[in-house]
Amino acid sequence: MKLEFKLAFKNLFGAKLRTLLNVFVLSFSFVIIIFLNSIMDGWDQQAQKDSVEWEFGEGHLLHNDYDPLDSYTILDGHGEIPKRSIGMTPVLERQASVYPQGRMIGVVLKGIPSDQKILKLPTKKLNQNKDEFPVIIGKRFSESAKLKKGDRVQIRWRDKNGTYDANTIIIEEIFDSNVPNIDNGKIWIDIEKLWKMTGLENQATYFILDQNFRKGPFDSWTYRSKTTLLKNIKDLIDQKKASQSVIFGLLLAIALLAIFDTQILSIFRRQKEIGTYIALGMTRLRVVRLFTIEGSVYSIMALIFGSIYGIPFFIYMSKAGFPIPPADQKLGIAIADVIYPVYGLKLILLTILTVIISATVVSYLPARKIAKLNPVLALKGKKQ
C-alpha cells in the first residue's frame, strides 16, 4: 500500500498543472459544502438560541385551558401559581386594546416579573418608572402600530370581573429580538402591575422554565419541553438543508467529473507504464489499486489545498457573519439578520469522507479497464 501511495504522489506531482487544476476544483467543493452547511447549522443554532433566550427558556408549563394558538383561551386559561414553583417564571396574559392616534388595535398584555433573568427581554426597564404604566414592546409591533420609545398611548383592559379599566401606558423601551412571537401584538408589563390592574393576584397563564425546574404533580398545567417547542424551527431548517444538498450534489459532480476525465485520459496515455508495472511483476489488481489511489489522492491534496484558503475564510466568516434575508420572518420563526456559521466536527468529517469516497469511486471506475488490458500490447504502447 505504501508503494502505491508513494507512486501516486510522484505521478501526481509530476503532472503539475493538471493535478493543480483538479485539486483546485475539488477543494472548492470542499470549502463550499462545508461553508453552506455551516451556515445552515449556524442558522439552526441561532434560531434555537434566540427562541430559547427570548421565548422558550428550558420549556413551558401551560395552563390546561390555555392554547397559545387560540387567543380566546386567554380569558379563562390561567390559574394560581403552584406553591412549590421552583425554576418557573410566571407569565400572565390578558387581552387589551390600545388606541394609537384614535385607531383601535387589539393586543395581548403580557405580565412577567421585572426581575426575571430567563428571557432576554429588557424587563428591568419595567421597574424604573413607578408612577406610570411602563411597558416594553418589540420593534415589529412598534413599526406596525407606529409607536416609538417614550410614546404614551391609551390602553383599555378588563379586570378579572370584566370591569373596564383604562389608562395611559408609556413605551419605556423597544427591544430588538429575532423572535416574532413575543413581539407582534404583544405588550410586556410587570406582572405585579398586571396583577393589580386585573385583580388576578398570583395568577399565571404559563410558566417559562429554567434548569432548576423539576417535573412534579402540576395537575392543572401541561408541560411542553424545549424540543417540542423548537420543532417548527427544525422543520424549516431541514427543508432548507434538503434544497441545499442538490447544490452540493452538482458541485461535487463537476469536481468528480474532472477527476474522472483525468483518470480516463491518464489510463489511456499511460498504457506503456501500465504494461511496465505488470511486466515488473505487479498484479493487475495492484495496478488498478495504484491508479485508484492516484485518483483518491486528489481528494487528500484538495483537502490540504482547500484548508490553505478555506480555514482563513471560515475564520473570517465566523467573525463577520453572513447576512440573511429577513423575509422569512413572516413565518413566525426566529431568523437573525446576520448568521454566524457553526463548523461542526461531524459536518467536516462527513464532508471529507464523502469527497474522499466519491473521488475514490470515480477513480476506480476507469481504472477497472486496466484489468482487461493485454500486458504485452500495453508494454508496447499499443492503444487498446
Binding site: T73, D76, S97, Q101, Q154, T163, Y164, D165, N167
Partner: protein
C-alpha cells in the same frame, strides 16, 4: 346591535328608578321617582333605526324590538335586505342570533361575548348587561347646570359591586322633563370610555322620551352610532312565545 342602545337607555331609567331606594340623597330620590313615573314601563315595543357611520358611507338598519323587563329581549331586523329576517334573542345571560339565509341559530357564549359587535363600539356583553343599576351602583347629585339650554342635574353613579363593565357613570338629567340628556361611562381609573347623548325629546303618552341617541367610543376616532326611535309603545302585552327559542325559526 341597535338593540343594545335601547338596553342602555332602558337600563339607565330602570336603575334610576330603583336606585332611588338606596341613595341617601333625598333630592336624588325625588328626581328618580319622577323619571320613573315618566319613563318606566313593563314592556316596550320599539321600531328604530340605527345609523352606523362607516368610513365610506353610512348604513341605516331598521329593526323592531320587543322587551319584557330587563332580562328578555327579542329583536327582528326589517331592513336593509341583507339584514332582513335576522333575529336576536336574549334570555337572561344567554344570547342567540338566528339568520334566515343559513337557517342557523348561533349561540354566543364566553369569550365571544367580549368581542365587539360587528366592529361597532359595543360588545355583545355590553348589550347583555342586565343587572339592575340600582343594585350595583350608588347615585348622588354632584352638580346642577345648564346643558344645551336646559337646566340639568348632574348625577354620578359609582359601582358598589364587582363585575360591572363600567365602574362609574355620569348622567345629565333634564330638570323639567326628567330624562337624561347625556351619559358618560368611565373606566376604573376614571378615564372616559364612552359617551351617549340623548336628543329629540318627545312626549309620548304623557311621557318624555329621547327619540334620538348617539353612542360613541371616546378612545376611538369617528362619529359613533346614531339610534333613532321611529315608534315606541309602552306596556303593550307581548305574547310569551316572543321570548322563547321557538321564535328563532323561519
Amino acid at each position: 346591535m341597535k338593540k343594545n342602545i335601547l338596553f342602555f337607555t332602558f337600563t339607565i331609567f330602570l336603575s334610576l328608578y330603583s336606585s332611588a331606594q338606596t341613595t341617601n340623597n333625598e333630592k336624588a330620590l325625588e328626581i328618580i321617582k319622577k323619571i320613573d313615573n315618566n319613563m318606566f314601563s313593563k314592556t316596550q315595543i320599539v321600531t328604530s333605526e340605527m345609523i352606523v357611520y362607516g368610513k365610506r358611507k353610512k348604513r341605516i338598519i331598521r329593526s323592531k324590538g320587543y322587551s319584557k323587563g330587563k332580562e328578555n329581549n327579542y329583536t327582528e331586523y326589517l331592513s336593509p335586505e341583507r339584514e332582513k329576517g335576522t333575529k336576536m334573542l336574549k334570555l337572561d345571560k344567554r344570547l342567540w342570533i338566528y339568520s334566515p339565509s343559513t337557517d342557523r341559530t348561533i349561540q354566543l357564549s364566553g369569550h365571544l361575548l367580549r368581542q365587539s359587535v360587528m366592529g361597532s363600539d359595543l360588545s355583545y356583553e355590553d348589550m347583555m348587561e342586565e343587572r339592575k343599576l340600582s343594585q350595583v351602583y350608588t347615585a348622588e347629585i354632584v352638580n346642577e347646570e345648564i346643558y344645551l339650554d336646559s337646566p340639568v342635574w348632574i348625577m354620578q353613579l359609582t359601582s358598589k359591586v364587582e363585575g360591572l363593565a363600567y365602574y362609574k357613570r355620569t348622567l345629565w338629567i333634564d330638570k323639567n322633563k326628567f330624562v337624561p340628556l347625556k351619559e358618560n361611562l368611565y373606566a376604573k381609573s376614571g378615564i372616559l370610555l364612552k359617551t351617549t347623548t340623548f336628543t329629540n325629546i318627545k312626549k309620548i303618552d304623557s311621557r318624555w322620551f329621547p327619540m334620538k341617541m348617539n353612542y360613541k367610543d371616546m378612545l376611538k376616532d369617528g362619529k359613533g352610532t346614531d339610534f333613532i326611535i321611529l315608534d315606541i309603545a309602552f306596556n303593550t302585552k307581548i305574547p310569551d312565545n316572543y321570548f322563547s327559542k321557538n321564535i328563532l325559526k323561519k
